[in-house]
Amino acid sequence: MKSQVKHEEKKSQKLLEPSFQDLILELEEFWADRDCVLQQPYDIEVGAGTMHPETFLRVLGPEAYRVAYVQPSRRPADGRYGENPNRLYKHLQLQVILKPPPADIQNLYLQSIRAIGIKLSEHDIRFEEDNWESPTLGAWGIGWQVLLDGLEITQFTYFQQCGGIDLDPVSVELTYGLDRIAAYLQSVDNVFDLRWSCHRRYGEVRLAEEQQFSAYSFDYANPEITRKLFDLHEREANALLEAFGQASDEVKRRFPVLAAYDQCLKCSHLFNVLDSRGVISVTERATLIGRVRQIACRIANAYLAQRSLASAPVSKAVRGEA
């Protein structure tokens, strides 16, 4: 009974002005109700929710899949030592993958916006052309950024290619910019003023992290060591891929392709650190991106080869919807 009252109280407060964590809970609940696996953030530094294996690998191959998760995404070059009201070293995305996308996917998405308390007919919501591309992942898609009264709140993408492989079926990727949406809902101009929970502000929870990681990636990261780390992770990834190529089917079935992917993610993040440190020349930049992409594409192929050896697919193949 007591908890019932507390829940009601929370609900009414939520309608007024949802906290940052309320927003996450609402969206996760919404997508869980629509048959999504609720996954957890990946435990390696990534630049975007797309790099989580639940997206990068799951969109490959024929099996249907639905997943949602929050992914803290690190963009070292966007760090501002916690001094800029809108820019963050690390921001939080809510990522949803629908494979294959249902025909009413746009409506479904809009329902999720209604679910977080936005009355659609009272707002200027639009889909403006914005095609997404990740050169390091060999991935691209066609889509829009969704604008809410002029504010970009979501990237909506029909994935066409990932790891250099044409996708069939395609997946829809929805990436909600949680910090922005929360700032909108709470009418706050500075992200650090957001109410994270009933009693804590975003700044209280995250400011130190912003300050320290901005300082690390702009001022402290040792370029020489970072480069070496990049090389080491690359070597490990390539060694694994090499071994996979030569393994028998029996060995391939349980081969650590996923571990090779972790090495690839490490490389991608280390590249971002080097980039924000300002020590990469132009030609080197293109070369490093190419090296990461090459690993990513090889992993995508290895993953598919491994999946084709699996005795039973993860779930039924694609239903005939799109």
Binding site: L110, I125, I142, D149, L151, Q160, D168, T283, A322
Partner: protein, 722 residues
């Protein structure tokens, strides 16, 4: 060998027609592509309807809105015409035996077309006698043909980048198709596109309209959609936006900062556009208005507003996809977004100026211009050298405003803003930001505007740099790009021109012509080539490459003369054939030709020159016949002597005029040669039997042609038909 030929039609007296209507319902199509796609759809449908003989020539109308492409044709025949065809079969010899009885071949042929052998008849053709059969080909129902045509037509619409969504082998289109309305005479056609069955139901505004609306005709469609908050016709949306913008501005005593491109964009971004007025903190007006307008226009698609005195007002107009903003929520949202954008701009504006513009120069070493052509830092070195070279040339030729020091400084600073925070954030402000910083930091005004303007002109109708230093740096920058890209194999091919070289070339031509700059194209290209070799990337540019850049620029000039100056093809060809290294001079010569060609003697003279050219070409290599000079002692006819003397006199006069660029006078003088030339051709046979007389006459004509072809090659002039 069977051929088919329609002979006559039958039973086609009373034909019925009906209205065809098509709507392709999509997820949001990129705004910039809708208008073009509708035009393509119109062309494709017209093509198919004509091909299938389904219209009486009435054209299709097509247009679009963010979620739909619409096409309709008021007059489509319900049925194709029946056609009587004669089908030619096997040769008569094979079809009938000696007794004139039908063979198995004839029987087979008749059976194939479902007739008895008695219906066969003989036709004679150029190849001999054949048997034939007449057959009535019944016209097919339009509904049946359209069901095939429409999906094909939709799939044929060209797009810059397409996607698939039903599977890798499915239809590729700009965005997923979610519904299709296809009607003939109000009845739904049975067809399917990308798994979507056509029907008679459309969809209204995403939030304000019904999601399923039955429609029976084009007019019914327009009316019902409007009630459901979709203005399907672009003109209606345009009119609504325009009216509301003006009204809101007038209500505040302001006027809209006119922007036709932005207006067109919002017309295609909204299905039911409405304007709202928002405010921003007046303290942001301290920022330069270029920055404020760019942030509003390019990033938020807002219209800026001006006061009566021309200054910017702290307001903006946004166009939203709603009927109204009853609670002011939308306006508050847009205001908050703009506030954050302006705060960003202000932050960078202040941060960037903590050091001087020139201090950014070393950072350009790490910004790539083109992989094989190196960094912007290296490009700046080359542009500086080339700018100095131009300024020196011009100063030496008496252009007092040409200041080498200014040109050098402007070129040095031109690219610095590429590494400032503001330009990284708002790339379309490149050049402008550099100019503004230079000004704030006390650089000479000439240098500031030069930096500000050096990307100009950005299009054929866009302004060129406002001062000579800006023109200098602009030409140097573009020429370096052109020669460099050509040298590393990046010359534009077909529609592919990733470095915008055509635009760069047009820019060079436009600046030269507008400022009437004395520029030798070949020498300038060589100077640019020397820069690419003397500085990094130490690239050797071959004479062939230099020539192809020259030809490329002359092609741009040809385009400018034709499209901008309105000169005729043949006038341009005639002049450029006589030399195109100095474009200002070429333009003067074309203007003179255009004026003189109206006079009585000119075109007949041009015809004579063409004749001269043909005669000389026929005579073969000059080495075989040309004397070092005309030998008057070999003249036989009075007409020869007269032409020679007149040519001599006119040439001397023309030389005098040409020296002071009096091309009109020179051409007038040349035109006066007509009686002598006419008389020569009337009286004299050039190809005389006696060799030295013939050679002498050819030499006379050759001298005439070369002497008078320095202004324009008259043989290129196409005489008007009488």
């Amino acid at each position: 060998m069977k051929s088919e030929a329609p002979t006559h039609s039958n039973n086609n007296t009373k034909r019925e027609f009906a209205q065809f209507f098509l709507e392709v319902g999509c997820e949001e199509i990129p705004a910039g592509m809708i208008c073009g796609a509708a035009k393509e759809l119109q062309i494709i449908l017209n093509k198919y309807l004509a091909l299938e003989k389904l219209t009486d020539g009435t054209e299709v109308i097509a247009f679009g809105a963010p979620r739909r492409l619409v096409a309709t044709c008021p007059h489509v025949w319900l049925k194709q015409e029946d056609i009587q065809r004669q089908i030619t079969g096997p040769p008569k010899s094979a079809a009938f035996d000696g007794q004139n009885a039908p063979t198995r071949v004839a029987q087979g042929f008749a059976a194939k077309y479902g007739v008895g052998v008695e219906k066969l008849f003989v036709v004679s053709t150029p190849r001999g006698e054949y048997v034939a059969v007449e057959q009535l080909v019944a016209g097919r129902a339009a509904a049946e043909r359209l069901a095939e045509i429409v999906p094909r037509a939709i799939a044929e619409i060209p797009w810059p980048k397409t996607m698939y969504w039903t599977g890798a082998s499915g239809l590729r289109f700009i965005r997923p198709i979610r519904w299709v309305v296809a009607l003939l005479g109000g009845r739904a056609l049975r067809l399917e596109i990308a798994g979507v069955a056509a029907g008679a139901a459309t969809t209204g505004h995403r939030f304000l309209g019904k999601s399923s609306i039955a429609v029976s005709s084009y007019n019914d469609y327009l009316g019902k959609l409007e009630k459901n908050y979709v203005l399907a016709l672009p003109a209606k949306r345009h009119e609504k936006v325009d009216r509301e913008l003006s009204k809101l501005a007038a209500g505040k005593g302001l006027r809209v900062h006119a922007d036709a491109a932005l207006l067109e964009l919002v017309v295609y971004l909204n299905e039911y556009p409405s304007a709202i007025l928002g405010n921003f903190d007046p303290t942001y007006l301290e920022l330069p208005e270029e920055i404020l307008i760019t942030v509003m226009r390019d990033h938020q698609k807002y219209f800026a507003l001006r006061r009566r005195d021309g200054r910017l007002a702290p307001n903006f107009l946004a166009v939203i996809n709603l009927d109204r903003d009853a609670k002011g929520l939308v306006c508050a949202g847009h205001e908050r977004v703009l506030r954050a954008r302006f705060a960003d701009a202000k932050f960078f504006w202040e941060l960037d100026q903590k050091c001087r513009l020139a201090d950014y120069l070393p950072k350009l070493a790490s910004v790539v211009f083109q992989a094989k052509l190196g960094s912007y830092g290296e490009k700046v070195e080359r542009i500086r050298a080339l700018s100095r070279w131009f300024a020196e040339q011009w100063f030496a030729r008496g252009i007092q405003q040409a200041r080498v020091a200014h040109a050098d400084r402007a070129a040095e600073l031109a690219k610095c803003d590429l590494v400032t925070g503001l330009v990284r954030e708002f790339t379309e402000l490149q050049g402008i930001v550099g100019g503004l910083y230079a000004k704030a930091q006390g650089e000479p005004e000439e240098v500031c505007w030069a930096v500000y303007d050096h990307y100009r002109p950005t299009g054929l109708d866009e302004p060129t740099p406002r001062n000579l230093t800006g023109a200098t740096v602009s030409i140097a920058d573009k020429l370096d790009t052109l020669v460099g890209c050509f040298a590393v194999g990046l010359a534009p091919t077909g529609s592919s021109d990733p470095f915008g070289l055509r635009r760069a070339g047009l820019g060079v031509v436009k600046i030269i012509l507008e400022r009437k700059l004395p520029v030798s194209l070949s020498e300038s290209i060589s100077a640019a080539a020397r820069g690419l070799f003397g500085y990094s990337p130490k690239l050797k540019v071959t004479p062939e490459i230099e020539k192809s850049v020259g030809d490329f620029l002359v092609e741009r000039a040809r385009y400018v003369f034709l499209e901008r100056e309105g000169f005729a093809y043949d006038e341009i060809n005639a002049v450029l054939a006589a030399g195109a290294d100095d474009l200002v001079d070429a333009q003067d010569r074309i203007a003179a030709v255009r004026e003189i060609r109206k006079t009585r003697n000119f075109e007949p003279l041009a015809v004579s020159f063409k004749r001269v050219r043909k005669i000389l070409e026929k005579a073969g290599s000059e080495k075989k016949w040309r004397f070092p000079a005309v030998r008057p002692e070999l003249f036989q006819e009075e007409a020869e002597r007269k032409l020679h003397a007149a040519a001599h006199r006119v040439a001397a006069e023309a030389q005098g005029h040409k020296k002071v660029r009096g091309y009109r006078e020179a051409l007038q003088g040349i035109a006066k040669l007509r009686p002598e030339v006419d008389e020569f051709f009337d009286r004299v046979l050039v190809m005389a039997e006696q060799e030295d007389i013939r050679r002498n006459r050819l030499t006379l004509l050759a001298e005439l042609l070369s002497e008078f072809s320095t202004i324009a090659d008259f043989s290129e002039i196409v005489a008007a038909e009488k």
